[in-house]
Symmetry: C2
Protein backbone atom coordinates (compact mmCIF):
# COMPACT_ATOMS: atom_id res chain seq x y z
CA UNK A 1 0.00 0.00 0.00
CA UNK A 2 1.17 3.51 -0.85
CA UNK A 3 0.41 6.66 1.09
CA UNK A 4 -2.69 8.42 -0.28
CA UNK A 5 -1.38 10.78 -2.97
CA UNK A 6 -1.95 14.11 -1.20
CA UNK A 7 -0.10 12.84 1.88
CA UNK A 8 2.76 11.44 -0.22
CA UNK A 9 3.20 14.83 -1.90
CA UNK A 10 3.11 16.65 1.39
CA UNK A 11 5.68 14.30 2.94
CA UNK A 12 7.89 15.01 -0.05
CA UNK A 13 7.52 18.77 0.41
CA UNK A 14 8.25 18.66 4.13
CA UNK A 15 11.37 16.61 3.43
CA UNK A 16 12.78 19.42 1.29
CA UNK A 17 13.04 21.61 4.40
CA UNK A 18 16.42 21.64 6.15
CA UNK A 19 16.78 19.33 9.14
CA UNK A 20 13.56 17.43 8.40
CA UNK A 21 14.01 13.75 7.62
CA UNK A 22 11.48 11.21 6.39
CA UNK A 23 10.10 10.22 9.80
CA UNK A 24 9.55 13.81 10.86
CA UNK A 25 8.02 14.65 7.48
CA UNK A 26 5.52 11.80 7.90
CA UNK A 27 4.65 13.01 11.39
CA UNK A 28 4.15 16.57 10.13
CA UNK A 29 2.05 15.45 7.16
CA UNK A 30 -0.30 13.43 9.36
CA UNK A 31 -0.43 16.31 11.81
CA UNK A 32 -1.47 18.62 8.97
CA UNK A 33 -4.59 16.51 8.43
CA UNK A 34 -5.66 17.14 12.02
CA UNK A 35 -5.09 20.89 11.74
CA UNK A 36 -7.87 23.43 11.55
CA UNK A 37 -8.80 24.11 7.90
CA UNK A 38 -8.21 27.86 8.22
CA UNK A 39 -4.77 27.31 9.71
CA UNK A 40 -3.80 25.10 6.79
CA UNK A 41 -4.90 27.63 4.18
CA UNK A 42 -3.15 30.41 6.13
CA UNK A 43 -0.01 28.26 6.03
CA UNK A 44 -0.35 27.64 2.28
CA UNK A 45 -0.93 31.33 1.60
CA UNK A 46 1.98 32.38 3.79
CA UNK A 47 4.25 30.09 1.77
CA UNK A 48 3.10 31.54 -1.54
CA UNK A 49 3.17 35.14 -0.35
CA UNK A 50 6.63 34.77 1.12
CA UNK A 51 7.88 33.68 -2.27
CA UNK A 52 5.80 36.23 -4.22
CA UNK A 53 6.03 39.40 -2.15
CA UNK A 54 9.53 39.32 -0.72
CA UNK A 55 12.47 40.74 -2.62
CA UNK A 56 15.93 41.92 -1.72
CA UNK A 57 16.34 45.61 -0.86
CA UNK A 58 18.26 47.29 -3.67
CA UNK A 59 20.33 49.24 -1.14
CA UNK A 60 21.23 46.86 1.68
CA UNK A 61 20.29 43.44 0.27
CA UNK A 62 17.98 42.54 3.16
CA UNK A 63 14.72 40.69 2.53
CA UNK A 64 11.81 43.10 2.36
CA UNK A 65 8.29 43.55 1.04
CA UNK A 66 8.97 47.17 0.05
CA UNK A 67 11.96 48.59 -1.79
CA UNK A 68 14.00 50.22 -0.30
CA UNK A 69 13.43 48.32 2.94
CA UNK A 70 12.00 49.92 6.08
CA UNK A 71 15.43 50.35 7.67
CA UNK A 72 17.01 51.99 4.62
CA UNK A 73 14.02 54.34 4.40
CA UNK A 74 14.12 55.27 8.08
CA UNK A 75 15.82 58.67 8.47
CA UNK A 76 15.75 58.32 12.26
CA UNK A 77 18.37 55.58 12.22
CA UNK A 78 22.01 56.38 12.85
CA UNK A 79 23.33 57.02 9.33
CA UNK A 80 26.96 56.91 10.42
CA UNK A 81 27.12 53.21 11.30
CA UNK A 82 26.78 50.31 8.88
CA UNK A 83 26.64 46.76 10.18
CA UNK A 84 27.57 43.99 7.73
CA UNK A 85 25.95 40.56 8.17
CA UNK A 86 26.09 37.30 6.24
CA UNK A 87 22.39 36.57 5.81
CA UNK A 88 19.05 38.42 5.86
CA UNK A 89 18.02 36.54 8.98
CA UNK A 90 21.01 38.00 10.84
CA UNK A 91 19.47 41.48 10.47
CA UNK A 92 16.56 40.46 12.67
CA UNK A 93 18.91 38.80 15.16
CA UNK A 94 20.65 42.16 15.54
CA UNK A 95 17.37 44.09 15.64
CA UNK A 96 16.03 41.84 18.38
CA UNK A 97 19.00 42.90 20.52
CA UNK A 98 17.42 46.42 20.41
CA UNK A 99 20.80 48.03 21.02
CA UNK A 100 21.89 48.91 17.48
CA UNK A 101 20.22 51.73 15.59
CA UNK A 102 22.39 52.11 12.49
CA UNK A 103 22.16 50.73 8.97
CA UNK A 104 22.78 47.24 7.59
CA UNK A 105 24.34 45.55 4.63
CA UNK A 106 23.71 41.88 3.80
CA UNK A 107 26.50 39.95 2.05
CA UNK A 108 24.41 36.87 1.20
CA UNK A 109 27.18 34.51 2.17
CA UNK A 110 30.85 34.46 3.11
CA UNK A 111 34.03 33.94 1.17
CA UNK A 112 34.45 30.22 0.79
CA UNK A 113 36.78 29.20 -2.04
CA UNK A 114 36.00 25.51 -1.39
CA UNK A 115 32.35 26.15 -2.31
CA UNK A 116 33.30 28.42 -5.19
CA UNK A 117 32.20 31.54 -3.31
CA UNK A 118 34.51 34.42 -4.17
CA UNK A 119 34.02 38.19 -3.68
CA UNK A 120 32.06 38.34 -6.95
CA UNK A 121 29.38 36.03 -5.57
CA UNK A 122 28.79 38.22 -2.53
CA UNK A 123 27.06 41.57 -2.16
CA UNK A 124 30.44 43.36 -1.79
CA UNK A 125 30.48 45.56 -4.87
CA UNK A 126 27.27 47.27 -3.79
CA UNK A 127 28.77 47.75 -0.32
CA UNK A 128 31.78 49.57 -1.73
CA UNK A 129 29.57 51.70 -3.98
CA UNK A 130 27.41 52.55 -1.01
CA UNK A 131 30.43 53.63 1.04
CA UNK A 132 31.73 55.75 -1.83
CA UNK A 133 28.44 57.51 -2.50
CA UNK A 134 27.42 58.01 1.12
CA UNK A 135 29.79 60.18 3.11
CA UNK A 136 27.76 59.88 6.30
CA UNK A 137 29.02 56.38 7.01
CA UNK A 138 31.90 56.65 9.48
CA UNK A 139 32.11 53.08 10.77
CA UNK A 140 31.56 49.63 9.27
CA UNK A 141 30.90 46.96 11.87
CA UNK A 142 31.60 43.52 10.44
CA UNK A 143 29.24 41.03 12.09
CA UNK A 144 29.99 37.91 10.07
CA UNK A 145 29.87 34.66 12.06
CA UNK A 146 32.79 33.63 14.27
CA UNK A 147 33.71 30.84 11.83
CA UNK A 148 36.94 30.60 9.80
CA UNK A 149 35.00 31.76 6.69
CA UNK A 150 33.38 34.59 8.62
CA UNK A 151 36.75 35.71 9.93
CA UNK A 152 38.36 35.57 6.51
CA UNK A 153 35.53 37.60 5.02
CA UNK A 154 35.88 40.19 7.80
CA UNK A 155 39.62 40.49 7.12
CA UNK A 156 38.97 40.84 3.41
CA UNK A 157 36.42 43.62 3.94
CA UNK A 158 38.67 45.46 6.38
CA UNK A 159 41.47 45.49 3.82
CA UNK A 160 39.13 46.88 1.16
CA UNK A 161 37.42 49.52 3.28
CA UNK A 162 40.10 50.86 5.61
CA UNK A 163 42.07 52.68 2.86
CA UNK A 164 39.00 54.87 2.30
CA UNK A 165 39.47 56.23 5.80
CA UNK A 166 36.40 54.49 7.20
CA UNK A 167 36.69 52.82 10.60
CA UNK A 168 36.17 49.05 10.40
CA UNK A 169 35.31 47.12 13.55
CA UNK A 170 34.52 43.50 14.35
CA UNK A 171 32.18 42.05 16.99
CA UNK A 172 34.02 41.13 20.20
CA UNK A 173 34.89 37.52 20.95
CA UNK A 174 34.70 36.26 24.51
CA UNK A 175 32.68 34.28 27.02
CA UNK A 176 28.94 33.95 26.53
CA UNK A 177 27.08 35.84 29.23
CA UNK A 178 26.03 33.40 31.95
CA UNK A 179 28.52 30.74 30.87
CA UNK A 180 31.07 28.83 32.95
CA UNK A 181 34.78 29.34 32.22
CA UNK A 182 35.09 25.57 32.66
CA UNK A 183 33.05 24.90 29.54
CA UNK A 184 34.50 27.57 27.26
CA UNK A 185 36.69 26.24 24.44
CA UNK A 186 40.36 27.24 24.41
CA UNK A 187 40.09 29.62 21.43
CA UNK A 188 37.21 31.52 23.00
CA UNK A 189 38.99 31.69 26.36
CA UNK A 190 42.16 32.94 24.70
CA UNK A 191 40.19 35.67 22.90
CA UNK A 192 38.45 36.58 26.16
CA UNK A 193 41.83 37.08 27.85
CA UNK A 194 43.37 39.09 25.04
CA UNK A 195 40.24 41.22 24.72
CA UNK A 196 39.90 41.80 28.48
CA UNK A 197 38.40 45.12 29.56
CA UNK A 198 39.22 47.36 32.52
CA UNK A 199 36.70 47.40 35.37
Amino acid sequence: MQYPEPIAKLIDSYMRLPGIGRKTAIRLAYFTVTMNKDDVSMFANALKETKQLLKYCSICGDLTDENPCAICQDGQRNQSELLVVEQPKDVMVMENMKNYHGLYHVLHGVLSPMDGKGPEELNIKSLLKRLQSNENIKEVIVATNATPEGEATAMYLAKLIKPAGIKVTRLAHGLSVGSDIEYADEMTLSRAVSGRTEM
Copy 2:
Protein backbone atom coordinates in the same frame (compact mmCIF):
# COMPACT_ATOMS: atom_id res chain seq x y z
CA MET B 1 12.00 46.51 13.36
CA GLN B 2 9.46 43.79 12.69
CA TYR B 3 9.86 40.87 10.31
CA PRO B 4 8.39 41.69 6.87
CA GLU B 5 4.74 40.63 7.09
CA PRO B 6 4.86 37.56 4.80
CA ILE B 7 7.81 36.16 6.76
CA ALA B 8 6.14 36.89 10.10
CA LYS B 9 3.03 34.99 8.99
CA LEU B 10 5.08 32.08 7.73
CA ILE B 11 7.08 31.87 10.97
CA ASP B 12 3.77 31.78 12.81
CA SER B 13 2.50 28.93 10.61
CA TYR B 14 5.67 26.87 10.97
CA MET B 15 5.46 27.30 14.74
CA ARG B 16 2.08 25.59 14.79
CA LEU B 17 3.72 22.34 13.68
CA PRO B 18 4.65 19.91 16.44
CA GLY B 19 8.27 19.99 17.60
CA ILE B 20 9.05 23.25 15.80
CA GLY B 21 9.99 26.14 18.06
CA ARG B 22 10.52 29.79 17.21
CA LYS B 23 14.18 29.51 16.19
CA THR B 24 13.53 26.59 13.86
CA ALA B 25 10.47 28.33 12.43
CA ILE B 26 12.57 31.40 11.62
CA ARG B 27 15.20 29.22 9.95
CA LEU B 28 12.55 27.42 7.88
CA ALA B 29 10.84 30.67 6.87
CA TYR B 30 14.09 32.20 5.62
CA PHE B 31 14.91 28.94 3.88
CA THR B 32 11.55 29.09 2.11
CA VAL B 33 12.58 32.36 0.48
CA THR B 34 15.59 30.66 -1.08
CA MET B 35 13.52 27.73 -2.38
CA ASN B 36 12.64 27.23 -6.01
CA LYS B 37 9.32 28.93 -6.81
CA ASP B 38 7.75 25.72 -8.15
CA ASP B 39 8.73 23.81 -5.04
CA VAL B 40 7.05 26.42 -2.87
CA SER B 41 3.79 26.31 -4.81
CA MET B 42 3.89 22.50 -4.83
CA PHE B 43 4.28 22.66 -1.05
CA ALA B 44 1.37 25.13 -0.70
CA ASN B 45 -0.85 22.98 -2.93
CA ALA B 46 0.08 19.79 -1.10
CA LEU B 47 -1.00 21.42 2.15
CA LYS B 48 -4.34 22.50 0.75
CA GLU B 49 -5.00 19.20 -1.03
CA THR B 50 -4.14 17.17 2.02
CA LYS B 51 -6.78 19.07 3.93
CA GLN B 52 -9.32 19.09 1.08
CA LEU B 53 -9.05 15.62 -0.43
CA LEU B 54 -8.36 13.39 2.53
CA LYS B 55 -11.16 11.93 4.60
CA TYR B 56 -11.53 9.04 6.99
CA CYS B 57 -12.59 5.71 5.52
CA SER B 58 -16.14 4.98 6.65
CA ILE B 59 -15.24 1.34 7.29
CA CYS B 60 -11.83 1.30 8.97
CA GLY B 61 -11.27 4.97 9.91
CA ASP B 62 -7.95 5.24 8.06
CA LEU B 63 -7.08 8.40 6.12
CA THR B 64 -7.87 8.03 2.45
CA ASP B 65 -8.63 9.96 -0.71
CA GLU B 66 -11.32 7.46 -1.75
CA ASN B 67 -14.08 5.94 0.34
CA PRO B 68 -13.90 3.09 1.23
CA CYS B 69 -10.11 3.15 1.34
CA ALA B 70 -7.90 1.06 -0.96
CA ILE B 71 -7.32 -1.60 1.70
CA CYS B 72 -11.00 -2.02 2.58
CA GLN B 73 -11.80 -2.30 -1.15
CA ASP B 74 -9.07 -4.85 -1.84
CA GLY B 75 -10.63 -8.31 -2.00
CA GLN B 76 -7.19 -9.90 -2.22
CA ARG B 77 -6.35 -9.04 1.35
CA ASN B 78 -6.82 -11.61 4.10
CA GLN B 79 -10.38 -10.94 5.27
CA SER B 80 -10.00 -13.05 8.40
CA GLU B 81 -7.50 -10.83 10.23
CA LEU B 82 -8.18 -7.35 11.54
CA LEU B 83 -5.34 -5.30 12.99
CA VAL B 84 -6.31 -2.46 15.34
CA VAL B 85 -4.03 0.59 15.53
CA GLU B 86 -4.18 3.89 17.37
CA GLN B 87 -3.59 6.35 14.51
CA PRO B 88 -3.85 6.49 10.71
CA LYS B 89 -0.08 6.81 10.42
CA ASP B 90 0.32 3.44 12.16
CA VAL B 91 -1.38 1.74 9.20
CA MET B 92 1.51 2.76 6.94
CA VAL B 93 4.05 1.68 9.57
CA MET B 94 2.49 -1.80 9.44
CA GLU B 95 2.21 -1.76 5.63
CA ASN B 96 5.88 -0.86 5.30
CA MET B 97 6.72 -4.06 7.19
CA LYS B 98 5.22 -5.90 4.15
CA ASN B 99 4.40 -8.93 6.27
CA TYR B 100 0.76 -8.31 7.13
CA HIS B 101 -1.94 -8.71 4.52
CA GLY B 102 -5.16 -8.47 6.50
CA LEU B 103 -7.53 -5.59 7.28
CA TYR B 104 -7.15 -2.62 9.61
CA HIS B 105 -9.18 -0.61 12.05
CA VAL B 106 -8.06 2.79 13.33
CA LEU B 107 -9.13 3.82 16.84
CA HIS B 108 -8.06 7.47 16.56
CA GLY B 109 -6.53 7.47 20.01
CA VAL B 110 -6.34 5.37 23.17
CA LEU B 111 -8.32 5.27 26.37
CA SER B 112 -6.95 8.01 28.56
CA PRO B 113 -9.31 9.09 31.33
CA MET B 114 -6.90 11.86 32.36
CA ASP B 115 -7.38 13.50 28.95
CA GLY B 116 -11.11 12.82 28.94
CA LYS B 117 -10.77 10.06 26.32
CA GLY B 118 -13.26 7.31 27.05
CA PRO B 119 -14.51 4.51 24.76
CA GLU B 120 -17.09 6.92 23.28
CA GLU B 121 -14.33 9.17 21.90
CA LEU B 122 -12.64 6.30 20.08
CA ASN B 123 -13.62 4.43 16.94
CA ILE B 124 -14.71 1.40 19.01
CA LYS B 125 -18.43 1.29 18.28
CA SER B 126 -17.75 0.94 14.57
CA LEU B 127 -15.22 -1.80 15.32
CA LEU B 128 -17.81 -3.83 17.21
CA LYS B 129 -20.41 -3.28 14.48
CA ARG B 130 -17.87 -4.39 11.91
CA LEU B 131 -17.13 -7.59 13.84
CA GLN B 132 -20.84 -8.32 14.22
CA SER B 133 -21.69 -7.80 10.57
CA ASN B 134 -18.64 -9.49 9.11
CA GLU B 135 -18.36 -13.16 9.96
CA ASN B 136 -15.09 -13.58 8.05
CA ILE B 137 -13.02 -11.93 10.76
CA LYS B 138 -11.53 -14.66 12.93
CA GLU B 139 -8.75 -12.76 14.69
CA VAL B 140 -8.33 -9.22 15.99
CA ILE B 141 -4.68 -8.21 16.46
CA VAL B 142 -4.42 -5.29 18.84
CA ALA B 143 -1.42 -3.18 17.81
CA THR B 144 -1.81 -0.23 20.14
CA ASN B 145 1.48 1.24 21.40
CA ALA B 146 3.38 -0.41 24.23
CA THR B 147 2.43 2.43 26.61
CA PRO B 148 0.24 2.15 29.72
CA GLU B 149 -2.67 3.70 27.76
CA GLY B 150 -2.07 1.40 24.80
CA GLU B 151 -2.02 -1.63 27.10
CA ALA B 152 -5.19 -0.54 28.89
CA THR B 153 -6.96 -0.03 25.57
CA ALA B 154 -5.84 -3.47 24.40
CA MET B 155 -7.19 -5.07 27.58
CA TYR B 156 -10.47 -3.19 27.19
CA LEU B 157 -10.89 -4.33 23.58
CA ALA B 158 -10.03 -7.94 24.46
CA LYS B 159 -12.75 -7.96 27.12
CA LEU B 160 -15.30 -6.61 24.64
CA ILE B 161 -14.44 -8.83 21.70
CA LYS B 162 -13.52 -12.21 23.19
CA PRO B 163 -17.09 -13.07 24.30
CA ALA B 164 -18.09 -13.03 20.62
CA GLY B 165 -15.76 -16.00 20.08
CA ILE B 166 -13.22 -14.01 18.09
CA LYS B 167 -9.55 -14.57 18.85
CA VAL B 168 -7.85 -11.44 20.20
CA THR B 169 -4.06 -11.19 20.07
CA ARG B 170 -1.52 -8.53 21.05
CA LEU B 171 1.85 -7.72 19.44
CA ALA B 172 4.73 -9.48 21.19
CA HIS B 173 6.94 -7.59 23.61
CA GLY B 174 10.63 -8.34 23.71
CA LEU B 175 14.07 -7.22 22.65
CA SER B 176 14.46 -5.01 19.60
CA VAL B 177 16.21 -6.88 16.80
CA GLY B 178 19.90 -5.99 16.82
CA SER B 179 19.82 -4.63 20.38
CA ASP B 180 22.07 -5.47 23.33
CA ILE B 181 20.56 -7.18 26.36
CA GLU B 182 22.69 -4.81 28.42
CA TYR B 183 20.69 -1.79 27.28
CA ALA B 184 17.19 -3.27 27.44
CA ASP B 185 15.03 -1.88 30.25
CA GLU B 186 13.85 -4.27 32.95
CA MET B 187 10.22 -4.41 31.85
CA THR B 188 11.17 -5.28 28.29
CA LEU B 189 13.64 -7.90 29.44
CA SER B 190 11.09 -9.43 31.77
CA ARG B 191 8.57 -9.63 28.89
CA ALA B 192 11.23 -11.12 26.63
CA VAL B 193 11.86 -13.88 29.17
CA SER B 194 8.20 -14.66 29.83
CA GLY B 195 7.46 -14.63 26.10
CA ARG B 196 10.48 -16.79 25.17
CA THR B 197 10.04 -19.07 22.17
CA GLU B 198 11.35 -22.57 21.53
CA MET B 199 14.24 -22.89 19.10
